[in-house]
């Protein structure tokens, strides 16, 4: 009995020790001290965060981690990655195992207000969709009454799915797996008729199928899924750095500055560009970064458009079009406050 009591107290002990209150400046100091950013990513989602066989990570979410490292160290490679499944991710951030989370995570009220976390921005506007096997002959999600649906645990997906079927008075059988690999396997083995997730991830998971052509993504989008980087609540300085690293990429696209022309742009007369590159204006001062923080991001990681096309757009296997993620002045809703 006594032993059991101790054993059950241990996790509580671990939590209480790990949960110091976050103070402004704490994370940046710790990151500078150890010399790298510890970034939480997915366990492997093509286009967003995926490791090659040499262990090099790439993807749209990974690029946010790299941008933060470039802003702090002037070196985008100073990142260490923690692959996390959906269930583990928030605990990892809360307990300071990671400095930031950049893992296709939806910004919701519960997560923003109940978990002691803050969302630093949106790097991909998504929405939940359905993937079905082609030979089912289903053309619309409204034909899915009575279907079995594979989902990954610990995602926003579970609730959206329930809401959608309830709103349309349809029945369904949810099969909830812990990891994305099992979810895909369950779908391939025919345990369920439908796999549901954010649409971008459906395209990514489809690549992982043994026969990607055998599945189609249905046209319906049933939810809003703004995905973005997350930090612990209470360290405003760190929050600002992560947020503005992302904004710098988006502003760079808007100003037409890319990794290819950034050096040439240094002699530009456009005051917006000159402020972005730290040649005039506030520079890195308020963020406690060097003046060329944004220059380093663009030079080493690229602007938002470059990151998008390289990872999930036309330069990738996913071939996702910009859609909602086009800039605000180009038909989309990606919009970053100005650097001035």
């Amino acid at each position: 009995m006594k032993k059991r009591l101790l054993v059950s107290a241990l996790p509580a002990l671990a939590l209480s020790v790990a949960l110091g209150t976050a103070q402004a400046g704490e994370t940046l100091d710790a990151v500078k001290g150890k010399g790298f950013v510890q970034c939480g990513v997915s366990t492997g989602l093509p286009g967003f965060s995926v490791a090659d066989d040499k262990g090099n990570w790439a993807g749209l979410d990974v690029d946010v981690c790299r941008a933060v490292a470039a802003a702090i160290f002037g070196d985008a490679s100073k990142v260490k990655y923690s692959p996390l499944n959906a269930k583990e991710r928030f605990t990892a951030l809360q307990s300071s195992e990671i400095d930031m989370l950049s893992r296709n995570t939806t910004w919701t009220l519960t997560r923003d207000s109940n978990l002691g976390l803050n969302f630093a921005g949106v790097n991909y506007y998504d929405g939940q969709g359905f993937m079905v096997s082609k030979n089912l002959g289903v053309k619309s999600a409204l034909e899915l009454d009575g279907a079995s649906v594979c989902i990954q645990a610990g995602t926003t997906t579970e609730l959206n799915l329930a809401d959608y079927f309830r709103a349309n008075s349809m029945k369904y059988e949810p099969i909830t797996y812990d990891s994305s690999d099992e979810t895909v396997k369950g779908f391939e083995a025919g345990r369920c008729d439908v796999l549901t997730s954010d649409q971008s991830q459906l395209y990514a998971l489809r690549i992982k199928l043994s026969k990607p052509g055998s599945a189609i993504v249905l046209p319906e989008v049933i939810s809003k899924e703004p995905l973005g980087p997350v930090v612990r609540q209470g360290d405003d300085e760190w929050f600002n750095i992560v947020r503005w690293s992302l904004f710098a990429m988006i502003n760079a696209e808007e100003l037409g500055v890319s990794s290819a022309n950034v050096d040439k742009m240094k002699s530009s007369k456009d005051p917006g560009i000159r402020r972005l590159l730290g040649l005039e204006g506030i520079k890195g001062q308020g963020l406690k970064l060097s003046d060329d923080w944004a220059y380093n991001i663009v030079k080493q990681v690229g602007n938002y458009s470059e990151a998008f096309e390289r990872n999930v757009g036309q330069g990738s296997r996913l071939k996702i079009s910009r859609g909602l993620n086009a800039l605000w002045n180009n038909g989309g809703i990606q919009y970053a406050p100005p650097i001035r």
Partner: protein, 396 residues
């Protein structure tokens, strides 16, 4: 000073601070006090820190609407029930797989344990191979095997194995007709209860008669006849108040009837096969611990193999078997939490998984979950200790 104690009191009654019993009590009370205070301090500190960090705490979430679906529930549940309800849905699903796992592991383990000692070469070999293979493969891999390689490789719903349009087997589960009782079924249940009472009375009487006169009675056959016959007669008398709801393929899946999910099936099977190996070894050790003289004595009395096992060997072996058997049962309960890996909605998956994810109070939810496992484990321990005491060697 050194001779003071000798003077101050009589040898039989030491001063309270010297009485080993009182001392032990005081020290134990102190230790408990320290542990409890420390525990409370930890919990308090954690909750305080979490609140500071903006992480929600408290049990208020239990009353909120859950809003998510669960595949299998033994009690009524849908999206409109509360998070508190999801706790019981998960708890019962864990209990179900634990009970099924324990029963089937025990059956398999006893059969294999006895088989391993069989004088039939083939049977003994089969048991040995079974034990050596399944004891040495990690349980999670076995669960994946039974689920992905066996369960999900069954045909799809449209190509189900069918037994006369009433029972269907496919990779979505096993579907059987569901009995629906009508008015008058209470009579059948009543008759069944009467039959059970009658069986108990008869068994007692037969036992006493055999003790007194040595005359055996066919208790088993009479009991069976009673248990089947009485409810059967009542059933006919009430005008067969029972209909069946048949499973039928509609759209993607079978609807109606009762179903056994492939997740439940695979998890139970994996738990049974894995734990069965350990139970088999325990049973073998137990049987071998009974001295050979007992076997020889039984043979000398002319007992055949089966009654010898049943009347002489097993009862004595049980004393050695029960304690390790208890810890195997505890393992089944704890290992059942691997369910989440294959999507079986147990307590960990539903409550410590989805509910925690949608609400946030980690300490409360994990504490509730741990309390459930602790309660299950302690209940099993108590039950088995009671059984152990009953089976203990009684000196006559």
């Amino acid at each position: 000073m050194s001779d003071l104690p000798n003077v101050s009191h009589t040898p039989g009654k030491p001063a309270p601070w010297n009485d080993p019993k009182i001392r032990a009590l005081v020290f134990q009370a102190l230790l408990i006090g320290v542990v409890v205070t420390f525990g409370l301090y930890l919990i308090n500190n954690t909750l305080h820190n979490m609140e500071q960090r903006g992480i929600s705490t408290g049990f208020g979430f239990l009353d909120n609407t859950a809003g998510f679906g669960v595949t299998q529930s033994l009690i009524e549940y849908d999206e409109t029930y509360t998070y508190g309800r999801t706790f019981f849905v998960g708890l019962l699903n864990t209990l179900l797989v634990a009970v099924l796992g324990i029963i089937s592991a025990t059956l398999l383990g006893f059969v294999m344990g006895v088989a391993r000692l069989s004088r039939n070469w083939l049977i003994a070999r089969i048991a040995t191979v079974y034990i050596e293979i399944f004891r040495n493969i990690p349980l999670l891999l076995q669960i994946f095997f039974w689920y992905f390689a066996v369960g999900l490789n069954l045909p799809r719903p449209k190509q189900s194995f069918a037994l006369g349009e009433t029972i269907f087997l496919n990779n979505r589960g096993l579907f059987i007709p569901r009995p629906i009782t009508e008015d008058g079924f209470g009579l059948v249940i009543g008759a069944f209860v009467v039959a059970i009472i009658a069986v108990i009375v008869i068994a007692r009487w037969a036992h006493r008669r055999q003790d007194a006169t040595g005359q055996p009675f066919h208790t088993v056959w009479v009991s069976l006849a009673l248990l089947v016959g009485l409810p059967g007669l009542a059933f006919l008398a009430a005008g067969a108040p029972l209909t069946w709801e048949m499973p039928e393929l509609r759209g993607f899946n079978f609807r109606g009837g009762l179903s056994v999910l492939p997740e439940l099936f695979s998890l139970t099977l994996a738990l049974a096969v894995y734990t069965g190996t350990f139970i088999a070894e325990t049973v073998r050790a137990g049987i071998q611990s009974v001295s050979h003289g007992q076997t020889e004595a039984a043979r000398a009395l002319g007992l055949r193999e089966a009654p010898m096992l049943q009347l002489i060997i097993i009862p004595q072996a049980m004393r050695v078997i029960i304690p390790p058997l208890t810890s195997q049962y505890l393992n089944v309960v704890k290992n059942s939490s691997l369910a989440a890996a294959i999507g079986y909605p147990d307590l960990v998956a539903v409550f410590a998984g989805t509910t925690l994810n949608q609400t946030g109070p980690a300490v409360e939810i994990i504490a509730m979950t741990m309390a459930v496992y602790l309660t299950f484990s302690l209940s099993i321990s108590l039950l088995m200790n009671w059984y152990n005491a009953k089976m203990m060697l009684r000196e006559r």
